[in-house]
Homo-oligomer: 108 residues x 2
């Protein structure tokens, strides 16, 4: 299942980079919106620290997830599709084999 950069054609790399960037932008925009909403609802100190804990967890998760590495890219795409940051359609220019692997991984 593990891949290297040479398993990806130039065209696939372009599609992958764009899809990756698009998912990142979507997730960050959703997070900004969520942080604004949460901030508007802060009434007391425990809400402040809850927002801090939330940001700590999301930052850690996002930093780990958006690591553009061909050896883990199929896993990353599966996670992004499962979490609806990316549609399978946006990856349709990848090889059938890669798409099948991504689909299989979304079901794990």
């Amino acid at each position: 299942m593990q891949q290297t950069a040479t398993d990806w054609t130039l065209e696939e790399k372009k599609v992958a980079e764009e899809a990756f960037e698009r998912a990142y932008t979507r997730e960050i925009e959703a997070l900004i919106s969520e942080v604004r909403t949460k901030s508007g609802l802060i009434n007391e100190v425990k809400d402040l620290w809850k927002l801090h804990d939330f940001l700590s967890a999301r930052r850690h998760e996002i930093d780990g997830k958006y690591d553009y590495d061909y050896s883990s890219l199929l896993f990353t795409f599966a996670e992004l599709v499962r979490d609806e940051w990316l549609h399978l359609d946006e990856l349709r220019s990848l090889s059938k084999e890669k798409i099948s692997k991504i689909v299989a991984l979304t079901k794990i």
Copy 2:
């Protein structure tokens, strides 16, 4: 300079607890307002993580500062007066000796 609980009369303890609580409430209210403003200005991911860093630093500072301990209370009050979370007037029922120490500490 270091004091213990027995150096404080019951009346002084009451005044100190109220002043401490008032300063804490003021600082937290100001922080909530600042976080709301900062959240409204978030446009991109670096603003999100700047808010996270800001909350990490303020939480650490506030957790350390608001430790109600008679051995460090004069230092804490001096810091709160210097940072304008507390007015010296609000401590006027403390002994003259304590007030003088607090005033001296605010100048360090």
